[in-house]
């Protein structure tokens, strides 16, 4: 079991990443809290030893993505309107448009857009993180980009 200082460091370092991935998937605050607690509990008790911070961050990204998907599959969730979510997240008005556009994409597109554009992962890295074929990642990225353009300009 990892000690307090180690888990607190991880929370300070990866809380925003976990929150952003939750934001991509979850439509209410309670689910985000649940995921938060589960992810860091898993980190405290069962996570492997990491070679470096990149490896550690990739673990958080992968585990958060899977936890969110599992949570959505597990039961009917109480969804709140997207606009309320954006308000709840304290997103400045000038950023709500692009965020709304991303969140309106299909799940696969949302993932690759976030992982590629925000986290800076390459298609190959995304394919490993999400266990998806690399060419599929390229396709998803291309389609997501096209849909975003359409939404933002349309």
């Amino acid at each position: 079991m990892r000690d307090v200082s180690e888990t607190n460091r991880a929370i300070d370092l990866y809380a925003d990443t976990v929150k952003r991935i939750c934001f991509l998937y979850l439509k209410n605050k309670e689910d985000t809290e649940d995921i938060f607690q589960n992810i860091f509990l898993k980190y405290m008790t069962h996570a492997p030893n990491f070679k470096n911070e990149t490896h550690e961050k990739a673990w958080f990204v992968r585990v958060t993505l899977n936890s969110c998907k599992d949570l959505l599959k597990s039961a009917r969730r109480k969804n709140i309107p997207l606009t309320d979510m954006l308000e709840a997240a304290d997103v400045p008005p000038e950023d709500t448009g692009i965020l709304q556009a991303v969140l309106e994409l299909e799940e696969n597109y949302r993932n690759v857009v976030y992982l590629h554009y925000y986290e800076g992962y390459t298609a190959e890295e995304i394919s490993k993180l999400t266990k998806t074929n690399k060419n599929t990642v390229y396709t998803l990225l291309a389609r997501a980009r096209a849909q975003l353009k359409e939404k933002l300009t349309g």
């Binding site: 929150k19 938060f36 607690q37 997103v91 692009i98 965020l99 554009y117």
Partner: protein
């Protein structure tokens, strides 16, 4: 578009309340978590170490028990060799002629202290046929402390009505004796006899009883004759002969009584 996405997601952050709540949640979980037991508690570790020590000591002890550190050859006509461990306990018994085999077939002296083993052998009745008048019993010893063995045997056998000869031997004598299929006690007597009469052979000696050998030896000593040029005695053996032999009319020609009352011609 990339910059816009980055800027927009930058705005999504985990607020401090969420972080604190998570930290509190983990702290509560940590308090409730059962403390992981070490693979070995100190008590178990001590017990484990003690067991290991016992096994090691036990294995060493077993090895020591079954390692021969001294040998006793008992020869009358039957020739018996006993292997003795460092604790003075007999761990092997070997017959070197048919008479001895017949005795050992009905008698097991293993795991007995050597003095007790000798006592059992002599008192079993199995040797009675060979302990008639004029008989002599030779005790040959290979040991770091042969003197102690002799003393122990003398104490055990005091008052017995037959002659005892005590001989200290070497491993070389034992190895040579075994090459001839003979006990090292009888072989040592043969060597001594050969030093007076070099026409005598191992085969001649093999069928002679200890009493016969001793009488022949005494005859040589008495007459002062030596058929061996120079008459030198064998350097590998030395014998102490019990006065009982004299009592039985088989007088030892040496005639020098040592402090134990034995005629001594023991050579070192």
């Amino acid at each position: 578009m990339k910059e816009k996405i980055i800027s927009a997601f930058d705005a999504v952050t985990a607020d401090e309340a969420l972080k604190e709540k998570t930290k509190e949640y983990l702290a509560a979980k940590r308090r409730r978590a059962p403390k992981r037991r070490p693979l070995l508690s100190w008590k178990n570790a001590v017990a484990f170490a003690a067991c290991l020590l016992m096994v090691t000591v036990g294995a060493t002890g077993v090895k020591a028990y079954y390692t021969e550190t001294a040998y006793l050859s008992i020869d009358i006509n039957p020739s018996i060799e006993l292997g003795i461990n460092r604790f003075g306990v007999v761990i092997s018994q070997t017959a070197y002629n048919e008479d001895a085999q017949a005795v050992l077939d009905g008698l097991n002296v293993r795991n007995k202290r050597y003095a007790k083993a000798v006592e059992l052998l002599l008192e079993s009745g199995a040797l009675d046929d060979y302990l008639s008048e004029g008989a002599a019993v030779d005790f040959s010893v290979i040991s770091d402390d042969a003197a102690a063995v002799f003393v122990a045997l003398q104490e055990t056998l005091s008052g017995a009505p037959y002659a005892f000869i005590y001989t200290e031997c070497t491993m070389q004598t034992k190895n040579e004796a075994h090459a001839y299929g003979m006990s090292f006690g009888k072989y040592a007597l043969y060597q001594e006899l050969y030093s007076y009469d070099n026409s005598i052979t191992v085969e001649d000696c093999r069928d002679m009883s200890v009493g016969e050998i001793m009488r022949t030896l005494n005859a040589h000593k008495k007459s002062g004759e030596s058929q061996n040029n120079g008459g030198s005695q064998n350097e590998n053996t030395g014998t102490q002969q019990n006065g009982t032999l004299e009592d039985n009319g088989n007088q030892n020609g040496n005639g020098n009584n040592d402090n134990n009352g034995h005629n001594g011609n023991k050579k070192k």
